[in-house]
Symmetry: C2
Subunit: 247 residues, 2 copies
C-alpha cells in the first residue's frame, strides 16, 4: 500500500503549479517509464500494481493497489505503472550540453495550447533528431500528463526551454522559418543546415509581433481544393522536419 | 422545436448499424456543414440553435433548442449546427467518375481503428489531392461522428471504398507501397506517378497476409535514437504523401 502522503502528492502533480513547486512530474505506462529510466531520469517512486511488480528492479519501486492507482492516475484506464520523476533542469540552448552545432535545427512554438499537439511535436523532434525546443511561456506545460502521454517517452531525449520567444530567438542568431498558410512552398525553399522552425497557435498561427522576426515564411502547398483551414500544427511540424532531414 | 421522431433518428445515427440502415449520417459545426453543402451533399435536415439561425438559407433548416441539440450531439460542447445528410454512394475506383489516371495515388488502409487517425488521413488526402481511399472492412467507419469531426469537411472531397483489401488492391493493378518500420527510406525510393500507399493497423501494422501483396516496403528513417515505436499512422501518411507530391 502506498502512503497517503504520496498519493496526495501525485494527485497534486496533475497541476502545473505543484509540479513546479515540487519540481516533480509523473509518467504512466511501463514502456514510457522504462524509457525515462534508461535515459537517466531520477525516479522518486515507481508505483506498480501487483501484476506488474516484476517489471522494474529499481529500489524506488512500490506496490500500489488498483484502486489507489485509479485515484492518482491521469488515465481513464490506468495501466499498472506510474513513475514519479524529478524534473530535469531546463538547459539554455547555448549551454555546453545543448550547444547549437551547425547541423542543428531548433523547433520554436508560439502559444501551442493542445497537449496532444505538443506531445506529438516532442515525439517528432526525437524521431528526427532535433535536440532543442523553445516554447513561448503561453505554450502548454511539457510535463502536463496529457503531453507526456503523447510523447511516449521522447521527453527524455529533447531539451525544452520556456522563455520569451522574441528575445530568446533573437539571441540565438539563427534564421527563423515561420510555418504559415501563405508562404513559399517548403519544397522550393532553400533550407540551411541550421535554423529555427517556428510554429504558431492552433487557431491564430504565429503572433503578429513575432512574425516581424521571421526571416522566411514557408508553407506546405495544397494539392487538392484550396481551404482556409491549415493542417494541424503537429502534422505541419512532421512534414517540414521530414523535408529538412531529407536533404 | 424539432420533432421527437427526428431526435430519435439522429441519436440512432451515432451507431454504424443505423447509419447504414437509413443511409444517413450527421455532421456538426457551421463550417463543416457548409463544406458538405457546397460539395453538393444532400441534407435531410439542418438543425440550428437560435443564435445560428441565419447561417443557412437552406429549406431544410430547422431551429432546435440548446437542450435538444445537447441530446443528439456527439460533442461534449455542441456548437449550434448539426446537419443530417444522405450518404453518397460508394463508387468503385475504376468507375468513370473516379477512374485512376496515371497521376493518381490511392491510399489504402488495413484495419485502421482510431477515428481521429482516419479523420486526419481523409483530411490529408484532401490536402494532397488524393481522390480515393480504400479501407479494409475492419477499418473504422468513415461516417463515424468522431471521424467526421477530424475530417473538417474533407469527407466531401474524397471517395472512400470499403472492401476486401487483398482482392480489391490486386484488381487495381497498381504497385503497392507498404509503410513499415523496417523498409527502404522513402527519401531513397523511386516513386512512380501512380501507386497505392498502404498503411496498417495502429498496433500491428500491415497484416501478414496483405504484406505478401506489397511490392515495396518503405519507411520514414529515424534520425534520433532508434525506437521500436513507429510514428502514428496519420503522421506517416502525411509525411509520405508530402514526399509523393513534392516530386
Amino acid at each position: 500500500m502506498a502512503g497517503k502522503k504520496w498519493l496526495r502528492l501525485v494527485k497534486s502533480l496533475h497541476q502545473k503549479k505543484y509540479r513546479n513547486q515540487h519540481q516533480l512530474f509523473f509518467m504512466e505506462g511501463a514502456k514510457a517509464v522504462g524509457t525515462l529510466l534508461e535515459a537517466g531520469f531520477v525516479p522518486e517512486r515507481i508505483f506498480v500494481t501487483l501484476n506488474q511488480e516484476l517489471l522494474f528492479s529499481h529500489s524506488q519501486t512500490e506496490i500500489i493497489s488498483e484502486q489507489e492507482l485509479k485515484k492518482i492516475s491521469a488515465l481513464q484506464h490506468p495501466n499498472g505503472v506510474l513513475g514519479v520523476f524529478r524534473m530535469p533542469p531546463q538547459q539554455a540552448i547555448t549551454s555546453e550540453d545543448w550547444i547549437v552545432t551547425p547541423e542543428d535545427w531548433i523547433v520554436a512554438l508560439d502559444d501551442v495550447r493542445d497537449p496532444g499537439n505538443l506531445g506529438t511535436i516532442i515525439r517528432l523532434c526525437d524521431w528526427f533528431g532535433i535536440k532543442n525546443i523553445v516554447c513561448s511561456r503561453t505554450t502548454v506545460d511539457c510535463f502536463n500528463p496529457k503531453v507526456l502521454q503523447a510523447t511516449m517517452g521522447s521527453i527524455a531525449q529533447v531539451n525544452i526551454v520556456y522563455s520569451n520567444l522574441e528575445s530568446y530567438l533573437k539571441s540565438l542568431g539563427l534564421p527563423i522559418y515561420g510555418a504559415v498558410m501563405e508562404g513559399t512552398s517548403v519544397y522550393q525553399t532553400a533550407l540551411p543546415t541550421s535554423g529555427i522552425l517556428l510554429l504558431g497557435n492552433e487557431a491564430n498561427g504565429i503572433s503578429a509581433s513575432l512574425m516581424q522576426s521571421v526571416d522566411a515564411k514557408i508553407a506546405i502547398p495544397q494539392f487538392g481544393r484550396e481551404t482556409a483551414e491549415s493542417l494541424n500544427v503537429a502534422m505541419a511540424t512532421g512534414i517540414v522536419l521530414s523535408e529538412i532531414r531529407r536533404r
